[in-house]
């Protein structure tokens, strides 16, 4: 394994002591990008949290390699103690020290950090997480979402080499999740610390991740840039109604009459609802497979405004036996369409055919 200063390299073969399943073994070999958000996605029991704990050093491994951006955290039996690694860790549930105020909680890490944190940086993060009015309070006086924001700020303020987040939204209800999401997104934009984000929510993956690792039973089932992995029809984890693709686009035109934006991407353009994004801004678009239907000719007598011309690359059985999952190549982008087996038969589509994809719904994620 090479110690690359721009990547995170992990080689683990570990059987946790406290595992509920006796035979569970985390067995993986990963090279992750040293920037952006990498989502670790999987069902419960797939080893997501164990992976994170191994990375941080909270779970003692007898062997294995962990290299973070050129720093050796573990090499065989040579293990760097947790408190000497600069690792930010945000736990699933609130993990603030109850006997300390918000400010003291934040300062706990800052005081012990080997690097002096610059004041503007400190203020930037407090501002980013919206904590100015909360500094004097104690954890019990905060809402769940506020507590998680404090925990995130506390982890960021030690200027970690890597930020590990273990389902940080799982303990929050729907509204609080929506409340904290923008903070996570702006963190992604404004900070350059690599983030490893564990989740079992495909919505969080679609909104936040740049890179995706799919875990099942302790091993890696799929891994790569988000768009590629989501468009992979062989994905062992069935997403059902949530199957779909995500890609980046750019706002090219604003149509004030109809309140729409024209978004360009490598291979085409889509009209999307005007959510206030400014011209030239990069947006992330999600198209669910169930919102895409196929036609052999361009229909103009429908209410659907988005039609893309693409070539069929793959036809895959769906978990639902009445349905098929069809993958199209549209320029540089992959689209998935979920169509019934009967319509596929009637249209007589096969790999290599060129078809119109009619897109009923497009979501802007950010």
């Amino acid at each position: 394994m090479t110690a690359d200063s721009n990547t995170i390299n992990i080689a683990i073969q570990h059987r946790p002591n406290k595992s509920r399943v006796q035979t569970f073994c985390l067995d993986l070999n990963l090279q992750l990008p040293g920037k952006g958000i990498t989502a670790i996605f999987g069902e419960s029991g797939s080893g997501k949290t164990t992976l994170l704990r191994c990375l941080a050093g909270l779970e003692k491994m007898l062997g294995g390699e962990i290299h973070v951006k050129g720093l050796v955290w573990q090499s065989g039996s040579k293990i760097k103690p947790i408190h000497e690694r600069r690792v930010g860790y945000v736990f699933q549930e609130s993990s603030l020290f109850p006997h300390l105020s918000v400010e003291q909680n934040i300062d706990y890490g800052v005081k012990r950090s080997p690097v002096m944190l610059s004041k503007p940086n400190y203020e930037k993060i407090i501002e980013l997480m919206g904590l100015y009015s909360l500094l004097e309070r104690f954890p019990e006086q905060l809402s769940g979402g506020e507590r998680q924001r404090v925990a995130i700020a506390r982890a960021l303020l030690i200027e970690p080499d890597i930020l590990l987040m273990d389902e940080p939204l799982a303990s929050l209800d729907g509204r609080r999740k929506q409340e904290i999401m923008p903070y996570l997104e702006s963190m992604h934009e404004k900070l350059d610390v690599p983030i490893i984000y564990v989740t079992h929510s495909i919505d969080e993956v679609a909104r936040l991740a740049d890179h995706l690792v799919v875990l099942q039973g302790g091993t890696v089932m799929a891994e790569g840039p988000l768009g590629e992995v989501l468009a992979n029809t062989d994905l062992p984890i069935k997403l059902g109604e949530d199957t779909g693709v995500v890609f980046e686009a750019r706002v090219a035109e604003r149509d004030d009459d109809w309140n729409l934006l024209r978004a360009e991407f490598l291979g085409g353009e889509l009209w999307v609802r005007d959510g206030g994004d400014s011209l030239d801004q990069s947006i992330r678009i999600r198209v669910l497979a169930r919102d895409v239907s196929l036609a052999l000719s361009a229909h103009t007598d429908t209410s659907i405004i988005n039609r893309l011309w693409g070539r069929i690359e793959k036809i895959h059985e769906d978990e639902d036996r009445a349905m098929l999952l069809v993958r199209l190549v549209v320029g540089e982008v992959r689209l998935l369409a979920r169509v019934s087996r009967r319509s596929a038969h009637q249209l007589a589509i096969k790999i290599g055919d060129e078809v119109w994809a009619q897109i009923k719904g497009v979501a802007i994620l950010r």
């Binding site: 941080a56 050093g57 909270l58 103690p81 947790i82 408190h83 000497e84 600069r86 690792v87 930010g88 860790y89 736990f91 549930e93 993990s95 020290f97 109850p98 006997h99 706990y108 890490g109 012990r112 950090s113 080997p114 506390r154 982890a155 030690i158």
Partner: protein, 230 residues
């Protein structure tokens, strides 16, 4: 109201209990911390050993301490070779005996308080750069504060209330080993029931107030589990 002998006994008792409580907090906290955190196979045996004074008659503990502290006992030989003489029937011997006898009353509430903290806050502290010793002082001790209060109060009160061990290894030397409980016994032996009554009532009021303070604190911090034996 109290005779000079009574007052001497009261102050001796308070001095003994304070000394013993302080020693126990210093020694008992790390022991309780270890018992709360370890996965060692020794956890069971050590825990049982600490709890022994809860079930043993004080005479048993006192008897073996007497042998150990005496001129032919292992501790006695060490203290003699250091020129300290033997510790049996002395204030120092009484302190040693009381420390052992009150040990579970301090260790168990502390152990419960440390266990109630759980792994998470300590893991968080570790990721924020705190070394193991730092974690103990900055997280474990402050979070276990109610446990320290309970431990101190129970350790103090239990030392005040002991009788058997004192009689076995301390005897009955005024100003040295004659504590309140022994003084009461002396009054009764001398058929001085009024004096005995006054001291005994004092003990009842004192003990009641001590337990009241512990139990009302327990109500306030629900998670703090009080556990003590006899």
């Amino acid at each position: 109201m109290f005779s000079e002998g009574d007052v001497t006994a009261i102050f001796l008792t308070l001095r003994l209990a304070t000394t013993v409580t302080l020693i126990l907090l210093v020694l008992g906290a790390p022991l309780a911390w270890w018992l709360a955190r370890t996965n060692s196979r020794l956890k069971g045996p050590i825990g049982a050993l600490v709890a022994l004074p809860l079930v043993l008659p004080p005479t048993v503990l006192g008897f073996y301490l007497l042998l150990a502290l005496g001129p032919n006992g292992p501790i006695g030989q060490v203290t003699q070779s250091l020129g300290l003489g033997t510790l049996a029937f002395s204030y120092s011997g009484l302190v040693i005996g009381s420390v052992l006898y009150s040990l579970p009353f301090v260790v168990q509430p502390l152990q419960n308080a440390f266990e109630a903290i759980g792994d998470r806050p300590l893991e968080v502290a570790a990721t924020l750069g705190a070394s193991p010793i730092d974690r103990y002082f900055s997280i474990a001790v402050p979070m276990a504060k109610p446990g320290f209060f309970t431990a101190a109060v129970l350790g103090f009160a239990h030392t005040v209330g002991e009788f058997g061990v004192v009689l076995m290894i301390g005897g009955n030397i005024p100003g040295e080993t004659r504590v309140v409980s022994v003084q009461i016994y002396d009054h009764v032996e001398a058929l001085a029931y009024d004096e005995a009554n006054r001291l005994a009532l004092l003990m009842i009021v004192f003990s009641f107030l001590v337990l009241l303070s512990v139990y009302s604190l327990r109500k306030k911090s629900q998670r703090q589990i009080l556990s003590f034996g006899s």
